[in-house]
């Protein structure tokens, strides 16, 4: 069983077996980060270009560390310092980067579908590090890896996802991934933040009351209210949001006793997540970040392909 894709745009495009392979590889690559010498020579001589059109600390750093642990050379381009500010189109930027012969482009872009567009135009591999409100596959994979480490399997888990589902690429990747792996997903959020018809994506139910979604859940995944985006116009006040859709010591006991609390970060403390819960025993938020490096190593490894001599 091999991974045959040149690019990873979204978990929607991957089969259950391919997701399994990416997670297994990530699990086995975790050990590299615990060594004295945190490096293997696998992608020696390969060039990974990180192009980030949107702000990011965690994802960009994580991809860069992942590439470096595999011995690839990395270059970071962020929109604020790039030619984009001079009016260059995505296509032109891509062709110019391509002329410098990279092997993998890791990109974050505000437009959903930007990676699909790019992948059709370049010969190198493209990895989606988040596109608009579409997908964020590396986050979806690291979420699943974190769940699998605790429960052994994803099959049969009840996962509650609470927050702004409409504008969340994290939610969409989680939904595609989790339903493929056999989990049941319950979504909750204000009606202004719930896309109509989302329950058609598979084993997905929609709750208007957050308490219904987290009741009996194995995992409670809280989404960040994106204050820099549409958040302000879709909500009366943050206090009201925190009261009805925030996770706190009052409503967390509705979930299973050993339920995991997850959050893609950065946290708005006191809004979607109270500090008590974010720093509590059930919080797996830093574990998620730790797993992020292994998952991204696995993605870089598998898209870069390889051929064994056939004897």
């Amino acid at each position: 069983m091999g991974f045959k894709h040149k690019d990873i745009i979204g978990l929607q495009d991957l089969t259950r077996e391919e997701i399994q392979l990416l997670l297994d590889t990530a699990e086995n690559m975790k050990e590299i980060s615990d060594r004295d010498i945190k490096k293997v020579p696998t992608l020696r001589g390969k060039t990974v270009v990180n192009v980030f059109y949107e702000a990011s600390t965690r994802t960009r750093t994580s991809f860069e560390i992942a590439a470096k642990r595999l011995s690839a050379d990395t270059i970071n381009i962020s929109a604020s310092t790039s030619s984009t500010t001079k009016g260059e189109t995505l296509s032109d930027t891509a062709l110019n980067i391509l002329a410098m012969k990279p092997d993998i482009i890791v990109m974050r872009h505000a437009a959903s579908g930007a990676h699909h567009y790019l992948a059709q135009r370049v010969s190198c591999s493209v990895i989606n590090a988040g596109d608009g409100a579409h997908e964020h596959p590396s986050q979806g994979l690291l979420d699943m890896l974190t769940m699998r480490q605790k429960f052994g399997t994803i099959e049969g888990l009840k996962v509650a996802i609470v927050g702004d589902i409409t504008h969340s690429r994290v939610a969409r990747s989680a939904i595609f991934g989790l339903t493929k792996m056999g989990a049941a997903v319950c979504l909750a959020g204000p009606p202004t933040m719930m896309p109509p018809g989302i329950e058609r994506l598979g084993n997905v139910t929609v709750c208007t009351d957050m308490r219904d979604a987290i009741e009996g859940a194995d995992v409670v995944m809280m989404l960040r209210i994106q204050l820099e985006r549409q958040g302000k116009t879709l909500l009366p006040t943050l206090r009201e949001y925190a009261r009805y859709y925030g996770l706190n010591p009052g409503n967390l006991p509705l979930a299973k006793k050993d339920a995991m609390v997850m959050h893609p970060g950065p946290i708005n403390r006191g809004v979607e997540l109270s500090s008590y819960v974010a720093d509590g025993d059930q919080s797996y938020i830093l574990k998620q970040v730790e797993n992020g490096v292994a998952v991204r190593m696995s993605m870089l490894y598998h898209v870069s392909g390889g051929e064994l001599p056939t004897e």
Binding site: K6, T42, G305, G306, E307
Partner: protein, 178 residues
């Protein structure tokens, strides 16, 4: 083309070879002090466990066993076809200043051993690395030689040597396929 199979070593033969290798390891290293075994996945790991059990029978002390997966250290990955799945490397002890005996089932080109040595060096600086293999089939492409050999088997490059294991991962026989 009909596939022809010849048994090179049967179960008893494998056992005798491993017992002799265990004695040779002890003789060379004057006991089991600072000695660790690292098996190359997956056949080498099973054999390393067998050797560890024999060393314990003879010497009375336990010799730790680690496993190394060399997928990430291969020199033959290129082009655009699927990458191999990555197995787990698990060396639950420090190799720093230890005498490491690397264990594999079949020694062929030597490229796997080169990769495994690089992997071990990334975990620390051992005092020395020795190599134990059940079968040496020749055709080396690198300047590598085994310290302990179960059986030397002259082969042609087209032939294949398979070490078979039972459900409990104990070696049962070694087969030459033509």
């Amino acid at each position: 083309m009909a596939e022809e199979k010849t048994t090179i070593l049967d179960g008893v033969g494998v056992k005798r070879a491993l017992t002799r290798i265990a004695h040779e390891i002890l003789e060379r290293n004057k006991g089991i002090a600072d000695l660790v075994l690292v098996g190359i996945r997956t056949g080498g790991v099973h054999l390393a466990r067998e050797l560890s059990a024999r060393l314990e029978e003879i010497e009375g002390g336990r010799v730790p066993v680690g496993e190394v997966d060399i997928t990430l250290y291969r020199d033959d990955v290129k082009g655009h076809a699927p990458h191999l799945p990555v197995g787990k490397t698990d060396i639950p002890f420090s190799v720093e200043k230890m005498k490491v005996v690397l264990v594999d089932d079949v020694l062929f080109t030597g490229r796997t051993i080169r990769a495994a040595m690089d992997a071990i060096m990334d975990h620390g600086r051992p005092d020395c690395i020795q190599l134990a293999v059940l079968i040496d089939r020749g055709h080396r492409e690198l300047p590598i030689r085994a310290d302990f050999v179960g059986r030397n088997v002259p082969t042609s490059r087209k032939e294949n040597i398979v070490v078979m294991f039972d459900a409990d991962n104990r070696p049962t026989e070694v087969v030459l396929e033509k």
